[in-house]
Amino acid sequence: MTSSNIITEDDRYRTSTQFRLWSFTRDSLNAVRTTTNRLAADRVREAVRRAHEALSSADASDADLENPSRGVSAMPEREIDCLTVEEELRLVTFYCRQTLQLGDHLLFPTQVKTTAVQYIKRFYITNSLMTYDPATILRTALYFATKTENHYCKLTKFAEAIDKTRPEDVLASEFLLTQGLRFTFDVRHPFRALEGAVMEMNGIASGVIPYNTDVGERPQNMGRRVKTAHGKAREYLKTSALLTDVYFHYTPSQIMMATLLIADQELTHWYIASKIFLDDLAGHKILATLAECACMLQAIEPTVQAPPEERKAAGALSKKLKKCRNPEKIDLVALQRVKREGDGKVDEKIIKKRKLEREQSAKEGEDLFGPSLKNS
């Protein structure tokens, strides 16, 4: 009758923001991360230089010594040893684990924890740990995920439940987070996909759902094998799939199939073959892609707790990070207040005064101002 346009499952995935904005080739992802890291390192060096200049000029005027401060002093006077891309990546993984554990502690559903982890991973593609403290960002990401995943938790309660956290600490970086997420909040996970595949395989196992007999009889003991594979695949999805880069390089369907492959290769092979013609180029390509994905997944053990050596390495890196934090971005609460004040909340006078000061400093051709940390 009409020229109906079949839009395939694949085409529909292509319309998602996860595909359009958050899918990368390995090279392109690495390129963006490298740029981010380099820019951040430059800015750290620049900020520390400014801070030291300010310090030396302040020495003369002898400012009050009681003003508490963090960060800048930790910076060595001269060369700053910044984190490399790989080091940042390892630390992000470490903080993602922390997020999962915090989520467990707060009894959040899987959906919230996993979305929060992806928010963190996405955020740190275009932002550096040296600029924004991962410990802060992870709280914000977790809190924000409760809002986007319909498991809302009152901010005050959320903050109370975590040590040394005030509501404003959580909110201060919310805008930064949403901007880093490019205002796309939907994350497509492979969990529901796994349930689908398992339900269908169960149906095949019990003979309720017919299957394509061209690919041979169904595997022996299929029901039991599906159950075992389901459990194992789920473990991978809850850990390795979140901590590695698979979400950036593969689709949820592929990730799910890859975890099933790891869990029971023969069973999964048979299942995919019964669905898709695998003997042509496209079929081979799917298998090759799943194998690659499985390989990437297996790079990280499917445990929430980091293995001891990983924890040790992360500890060392955290120390290193402390020495190369951008001193101007430590107090996000104060920064946020300053930004929001541009909102009309602040007196005209203050804005004018700031403007004058800005012009003044521009005239002098140098930025004397150090970090914007007043007392918090």
Binding site: A54, A135, F144, H151, D186, E328
Partner: protein, 398 residues
């Protein structure tokens, strides 16, 4: 695991050698105020740069209107002054202490994903320097369906026109459901009209994706006149059937040109529903009495039969009345689904749906655009304000 697992290196660092406070105070004393100039002088982050790039693609024009939730501006694409857009600038809600408002989050989350001719399209998003979020939306200058329905003296339309509008609405809802999204606020003034006559479903401030098994949802969604009985009875686990009920009531309203069930509060809404559709009972809806807030006025009125509908909505023909009745089946399990709506025989029966270009119009103009986009999801305007479920309580929102 520790009591709080968040033992993070660097996070708890407090105090330190005096030298650093010296450094710090030096910076502070040379300035006196937090440094606002910083943001303008420093190099952008990659994320900031991307945002700037996006922002540069659009030119914000005059303000079309102001609402509690957002301001709406006319805008155009920088490279093409004739390509108009509406820019909805979401206000930072100072009094909202929970960060980014739920309406904005939901609207962004779903509009970013859904692309369909009958769903308002979100062209871009960027933030302005004061951290306000700007949604670049397609410009829909011809008002909304509510305006057409209300203008009984100025706008005349018939069955073919109703069929056209209902077709576009049903497609939009079907597409949402195919993408596992519940809209949860379907009503005539959320159906905006494009310059070419296309109807577009807007305002996703209450939308959410289908809930997984055992996960609860809030029942206080959908403006009450369009709210289905299961939500009036407090169901916390429901389906796309809630939107279909709303579609049915929009259908009825298009015919009689006033809302079919106008309750003044939830209790009254149930009473109106019992009179206009029938009283929900265990007979016509097994299990209904188990719903949390199930109460119905006595004595029960019978479920309305086809004669009632034919006498009231007969202008849409036998098939049309049949479709309407299926949308207004009280038991959500038996109510027609969005897909089945589109498979119904009414669409292929005569008369054929009017072509977009021939549909009746009412010049809405820019001010209407502003009203449509800015009004919501905060509060609803004028006399309807008291009757809508727009007070979002996140606490009950699981």
């Amino acid at each position: 695991m520790a009591v709080s697992p968040l033992v993070l290196p660097g996070a708890a660092e407090k105090g330190g050698p005096t030298a650093k406070s010296k450094l710090q105070s030096a910076a502070a004393s040379s300035n006196g105020t937090p440094n606002a100039a910083q943001s303008s002088t420093e190099v952008n982050d990659v994320a900031e740069q991307m945002n700037e790039d996006e922002k540069a693609k659009y030119v914000k024009g005059k303000k079309l209107g102001e609402g509690t939730y957002a301001n709406v501006y006319l805008g155009h694409i920088s490279s093409s002054p004739s390509s108009l857009v509406a820019i909805k600038k979401i206000k930072v809600q100072q009094q909202y202490t929970e960060g980014m408002a739920p309406d904005a989050i939901r609207e962004l989350k779903f509009l970013q994903e859904l692309s369909h001719p009958n769903i308002i399209s979100l062209i871009s998003v960027f933030s302005s320097k004061d951290q306000n979020i700007n949604l670049v939306l397609e410009f829909l200058p011809m008002g909304d369906l509510e305006m057409l329905i209300k203008d009984t003296s100025g706008v005349r339309y018939g069955m073919a026109d109703i069929k056209a509008w209902m077709g576009m609405l049903s497609r939009a809802v079907w597409f949402c459901h195919e993408n596992f999204v519940l809209h949860r606020d379907i009503k005539p003034n959320n159906l905006l009209i494009a310059a070419d006559g296309e109807v577009k479903l807007a305002d996703f401030g209450l939308a959410r994706s289908f809930s997984d098994p055992y996960r609860l949802m809030t029942s206080t969604v959908i403006t009450i006149w369009y709210r289905p009985p299961e939500l009036l009875f407090g169901a916390r686990q429901y389906s796309g059937a809630v939107d279909v009920w709303s579609v049915g009531l929009v259908f009825a309203e298009l015919v009689i040109r006033v809302p079919y069930l106008q309750g003044i509060n939830e209790v009254d809404q149930i009473a109106k529903l019992c009179m206009g559709v029938g009283t929900p009972t265990e007979e016509n809806w097994p299990g209904v009495s188990k719903l949390p807030d199930y109460t119905v006025p006595a004595p029960p009125s019978p479920v309305m039969g086809i004669d009632h509908y034919l006498s009231m909505f007969g202008t849409v023909g036998q098939e049309g009345v049949d479709l309407l009745m299926k949308m207004l089946i009280m038991d959500p399990r038996r109510r027609i689904t969005a897909r089945q709506v589109l498979e119904h025989g009414w669409w292929s029966s005569d008369p054929r749906a009017t072509k977009n270009e021939d549909l009746p119009k009412k010049g809405g103009g820019e001010s209407k655009v502003a009203e449509d986009l800015g009004r919501r999801p905060g509060m609803v305007d004028d006399e309807r304000a008291g009757k809508v479920a727009r007070k979002l309580d996140f606490g009950g929102m699981r």
